[in-house]
Symmetry: C2
Subunit: 412 residues, 2 copies
């Protein structure tokens, strides 16, 4: 079983939900679970992207911070105003991390933390604004999927043109084995997820609410499909609702998680531009799909293109750009892992692939004896690891992967 997939309700000492966390010095797995519980609690207490709080976490550790906020007699975190401390303590009193962890497990999900094998290390680029942890629904490995991912974002009230672009682009990215990340909003976001899903591709929805809080309501069914076939990810604990600032902070996660952000349609001063600029400031690629200069919904994209972004018109151009970072593209140079280190399900799926030619997910699922969604998820993980490649919706062994594997077997 892969790390990060374990049910976390076994953190028994915290079932009451009140902070009685042991110090970080507790040895081994128990310390890890204590830390995880503290981080889960903190996602209920601290607002996403709060850099002051991020500094406290860095300086004190999550367990001590949670204790400082839970115990009225404890010393408040350094530099915290009385008002801020009071507000955070009111929230801390209501935090029930064990219940939240149980809730996400009930949804078939998990809570992943910095240091976990599934943690996407690129989020560390956010510094003290790094998420405390991520609540995740879906079976795929977030880290592996995010390795080869692109954000596709844009206007909620997009035109047919924008929806068409987002769908086509995302289908194209998915077809070429890239994960499409977006915010599950109406308009471009929804079209991006749908395009990837329709191409049997990998897609991640990053929410500004809890993973079980369908927002917008009209996307309840879509979010259900993403949770089944892809991943739904949130900084906020189950049940929590979105706010204006949470939407803005959510955008930084989209920007940091992906190798680049493509803005499809955006008005001037739109949130998508904020995501793109954040991506830029994080050293990610920013791209824009142009449109008629007569359309106000392309005005924001054109402004971005004038300032700092690259014109892209299809998936190939996006991949040409984001795929150019050699050290992040294991698929280009063969597997980065030996087969022995794969989890059993991934190994079964890999072994189900024919030595010659390609096959589809349905057959592979049958051959490997794994559910279709799980097979699909594992294939994208194997792709990120360089074992397989995707070709027009079909899957085959990566040619370089085979060579690398062969030489490993036959050689010294």
């Amino acid at each position: 079983m892969e790390p990060g997939y374990a049910p976390h309700t076994t953190a028994a000492s915290h079932t009451a939900g009140r902070a009685t966390a042991r110090p970080c010095s507790t040895p081994g797995g128990a310390a890890r679970e204590t830390q995880r519980t503290a981080r889960a609690a903190l996602t209920r207490i601290l607002e996403p992207g709060d850099e002051t709080a991020g500094r406290w976490v860095r300086e004190m550790g999550p367990v001590a911070l949670w204790r400082a906020l839970s115990d009225e007699d404890a010393t408040p975190p350094r530099g915290a105003s009385p008002a801020k401390t009071e507000g955070l303590r009111l929230r801390a009193a209501r935090a029930r991390p064990a219940a939240d962890l149980a809730a996400v497990t009930a949804l078939g999900g998990r809570f992943i933390c910095p240091g976990d094998d599934e943690w996407p290390g690129q989020l560390d680029d956010l510094g003290d604004a790094r998420p405390l942890g991520l609540w995740v629904r879906g079976t795929a490995n977030l880290r592996l999927w995010a390795l080869r991912s692109v954000a596709v974002v844009g206007a909620r009230a997009c035109t047919d043109y924008g929806a068409h672009l987002a769908t086509t682009l995302s289908a194209g990215l998915a077809d070429r084995g890239w994960t499409v990340v977006s915010g599950a909003a109406y308009g471009v976001d929804g079209a991006a997820h749908r395009g990837a899903l329709a191409a049997d591709g990998a897609t991640i929805a990053v929410m500004a609410s809890g993973v079980d809080y369908a927002y917008p309501r009209g996307h309840t069914e879509l979010l259900g499909r993403i949770a089944e076939q892809g991943l739904v990810v949130a900084e906020l604990p189950p049940g929590d609702h979105p706010t204006r600032s949470r939407f803005i902070q959510r955008n930084r996660v989209i920007a940091a998680l992906t190798r680049g952000t493509v803005v499809v349609e955006a008005e001037l001063r739109s949130g998508s531009l904020v995501t793109a600029r954040r991506a830029r400031s994080l050293g990610r690629f920013t791209m824009g799909m142009p449109g008629p200069v007569t359309s106000s919904l392309s005005a924001g994209v054109h402004q971005l293109l004038r300032d700092e972004a690259t014109v892209v018109t299809d998936a190939d151009e996006v991949i040409e750009l984001v795929g150019s970072i050699g050290d992040l593209a294991p698929g280009r140079r063969g597997p980065t892992l030996t087969r022995d280190l794969l989890d059993p399900v991934a190994t079964r799926v890999l072994e189900a692939l024919p030595a010659q030619g390609s096959t589809d997910v349905g057959r592979l699922a049958e051959e490997a004896g794994t559910p279709r969604e799980v097979t699909q998820g594992k294939l994208f993980e194997l792709l990120s690891l360089g074992f397989v490649q995707r070709c027009g919706g079909h899957w085959e062994l990566a040619r370089r992967a085979e060579a690398a594997d062969g030489s490993r077997r036959g050689g010294a």
Copy 2:
């Protein structure tokens, strides 16, 4: 009277049209006229953009080159193959420069040469591919108009969208006192000229044929209007026809003459992209107006934007870019010339402007007692020199110009 406006039919020694040119050492105006006649003859003999021939001109001078090509017993130019020499001599035998000069004069035009006051010095950036001279129809001063000019080029078979963009952009450029340069072709070129004309603006058509050879035929009337209200310019002598290579070579003149080139609509591998890339290689700005990525007529523009060009969506953005070269923008820092050096007509027009507020061309023409087209042309020259500014189709004294002029008058 301004230099370059003089009728050149007085170059009496060449009325026979056969080369009997005197050497360059002939002193004063006569030598100048001899050189002019030789250059006029060479425009009939050499193809535009022939760099080998350009080297001959540089090394031998136009008079000696014309002699070498006209006299069968003369030594051929250095490195010229017998076949090339023979071909050029066949053309030289038919050259009638005095007749050509008379023809352009009869059209109200002139032939301007490197070294003339009206010669646009930026064409020297073309090196040995610099035009031998330019045949010009229209009353305005080519050098002054080209100082503040932008090329607007694009597809012949443009869409309504492209035609709309070209018209609006050119009207906007003209409104802000910029000269619109294009190639008078169908589609974007025509729309660009029309937009400038409709805004009572300055526009220059650079032809791939003689200035009196209306190409395309359907633009005969448009070219007539440009010759009246703007300038029609050609490397080729009157009556000469366009060829495929002449279209391509014409593009280098458009690129070199202007501060930047805007491509409005262009398919992949279109001639407009050649113009833009030439502009780029000459250190000019290259710009593109994006369009729907679903349109093949925007595909070339998007390719250009990906490679090397800046996204622009309106005239302000174009001017923001091309107007940023301080030393080429006299309007930004007041007149570069004292009033005393202005020609009498320009002085009359300048003096007709009210001390306060703005006025239109019609009133100015009446006040100055100059024809409307002449008044218009002089106003754009005065604008290039920094004396006046244009504001929504009206004209007024440049504020900085006034200050500069006032300080000159009142100061030391």
